[in-house]
């Protein structure tokens, strides 16, 4: 199968206090159309940096990023990107936040609302369109942020720890909600998390990054059948994989940062 996204030899160096610091070592990824792919790794290993590069917000120091075979280095607007914070504009209603991407592209408001409304009704935001972000719970705000990303209508969606700030209960609800959306839209999803359970529960493939500076140390495919259920998270195979991932992460977490002067 042809790769939807291909990341070839991408690395990133930053210069700080006159020193060059490597944030991410050479990384190669190849992700197939419609997969749900998670990236886990200790904090500071360069996961967000990788996403910023894929989203075209910062250039890589080396390497190429291809989407559908096209070079997208430095090109914004090619993928949908959602950050950990919901980043809703507080002075806009939920509806106006959700259609922001379309508004920027110049879609007439009426058409944008007509497209947003059914999605809001279907995915748990019915009746919240006129509210302001401050009036909603964290989970609801993340729903709005994700719908905004979804309505931006790209084939590829990057989610950077989207549920990291939610409590365990809400997080579980949101995970199921996300899977439901993913099953309906079949986008290619790249999902960053530091929660091992979350990665296993959601993903087709898991890439494990080493500690700073990040480097892929393992790729694992999860064969658990879908749709997945809460009970699956206590099955023997789930536990086994979790133990394996814990092992990988604690082994790779102590590497010191490399410096080159």
């Amino acid at each position: 199968m042809k790769a939807k996204i291909e990341i070839a030899g991408v690395s990133k160096w930053f210069r700080r206090d006159g020193q060059e610091i490597i944030a991410m070592q050479e990384t190669n990824l190849s992700i197939e159309q419609g997969r749900f792919v998670s990236i886990i790794g200790p904090s500071g290993c360069g996961k967000s940096t990788l996403f910023n590069i894929i989203a075209g917000l910062i250039p890589p120091s080396t390497g190429r990023v291809l989407a559908d075979g096209e070079d997208i280095v430095g090109k914004t607007g090619y993928v949908g990107y959602m950050l950990q914070k919901d980043m809703l504009l507080p002075w806009r209603t939920i509806l106006d936040n959700i259609i922001l991407g379309m508004e920027i592209r110049g879609v007439p408001r009426k058409e944008a609302v007509a497209r947003a409304q059914p999605l809001m009704d279907r995915y748990g935001l019915k009746g919240f369109g006129g509210h302001y972000p401050a009036e909603l719970s964290g989970g609801m705000r993340q729903r709005a942020a994700l719908l905004r990303t979804l309505l931006y209508d790209r084939d590829i969606i990057l989610l950077d720890e989207p549920f990291g700030a939610l409590d365990a209960q809400t997080r579980l609800t949101m995970q199921n909600w996300l899977l439901e959306i993913w099953e309906d839209f079949r986008k290619t999803v790249l999902f960053v998390t530091h929660d091992i359970d979350e990665a296993i529960y959601l993903s087709d493939d898991i890439y494990v990054f080493s500690g700073r500076p990040g480097r892929i140390i393992s790729k694992i495919s999860v064969d658990m059948p879908r749709p997945r259920h809460k009970e699956d998270t206590v099955s023997a195979s789930f536990m086994e994989l979790k133990a394996h991932l814990l092992d990988l992460l604690s082994g790779g977490g102590e590497e010191p940062a490399a410096h080159i002067s």
């Binding site: 917000l57 990107y81 504009l89 920027i104 592209r105």
Partner: protein, 295 residues
């Protein structure tokens, strides 16, 4: 249900609540709901009445003490005399024109200074180099006592209306620019990142994120600026003018008509309060326009 001993944990049996330890007649039937709203309203009313009483008391004492000679009525005038002098100034003098003169130079300077200052502050978002070069000069200008410049401005621009507007403008423009600049600096970088990831151009980030984000900062400078603007206009009239309340006060001082000085002070206080109230309304309107807008 009995307690259950599992391999690694125990599930405890829950005891039923011991209701019989409280006698039924002692148990409360109605839930207690504290009427916080009513209490707040009562507090507000008492505060209102209290303010009115204190205000009246001050005026009354002022009148009384000047009459019985505890306060020298030559220096302190008295509320009744101030009122009657005000009335003669309105009917026979030029008090109304003076009020119009002073308030229009104040308001023009305020509007001009706020608009241009805010635009300057906002423009710093476009270029970090431009902002970096300008910042120390802005801080310097802010620290400089601009009222000391008044004679220069009057000599430069003449003793007419325009020099008063220019002084009011000079008083407000720097504060407005610094406020807008703080607003711009506080814009969440991730918010900009999100906008770019949605394919936004720079001007779209500016209009859709930066301006609304900096709005509360710009609004917060309005209240200070209206007072500064009035001070600028009055000092301009002190220096040299043929109209305005400031000129009236200076004139009254030179002919030792302390009564008339008091009229000026009272009129200026009222004017200042009215303009302050106007700015509060403007603030409300602006906050609403940006808080509830559906665009």
């Amino acid at each position: 249900m009995e307690s259950v001993q599992k391999k690694g944990y125990v599930i405890h049996k829950l005891e039923p609540a011991p209701i019989h330890s409280v006698k039924p007649e002692k148990m409360q039937k109605e839930p207690v709901i504290v009427d916080e709203e009513g209490a707040r309203r009562r507090t507000q009313r008492i505060v209102g009445i209290g303010r009115l009483t204190v205000g009246l008391l001050i005026v009354l004492c002022w009148e009384l003490f000047t009459r019985i000679g505890w306060m020298d009525s030559y220096y302190w005038s008295s509320p009744v005399r101030i009122l009657s002098t005000t009335w003669t100034q309105v009917t026979q003098g030029t008090l109304l024109e003076d009020i119009a003169y002073t308030s229009s130079s104040t308001i023009l300077g305020f509007i001009g200074g706020t608009l241009i200052g805010s635009l300057l502050g906002l423009s710093f978002w476009w270029s970090r180099r431009f902002a970096g070069i300008s910042e120390p000069f802005l801080i310097l200008l802010n620290a400089m006592p601009k009222l000391a410049l008044a004679p220069v401005l009057v000599i430069l621009l003449g003793i007419g209306f325009f020099s008063k507007v220019a002084l009011a403008f000079a008083m407000t423009v720097v504060v407005a620019a610094l406020s807008a600049h703080s607003g711009v600096q506080s814009v969440d970088k991730d918010m900009e990142k999100l906008m770019y990831s949605l394919g936004a151009k720079r001007h779209q980030v500016f209009t859709k994120v930066v301006i609304p984000w900096a709005m509360p900062w710009m609004i917060s400078s309005l209240r200070i600026n209206i007072a500064l603007s009035l001070a600028g206009a009055i000092v301009g009239e002190f220096i040299a003018s043929s109209h305005g309340i400031g000129r009236m006060v200076i004139y009254a001082g030179t002919i030792l008509d302390i009564n008339l000085v008091w009229v000026g002070v009272v009129v200026l206080s009222v004017l200042s309060m009215v303009m302050y109230a106007g700015v509060v309304l403007l603030e409300k309107w602006l906050s609403k326009g940006y808080g509830m807008k559906k665009a």
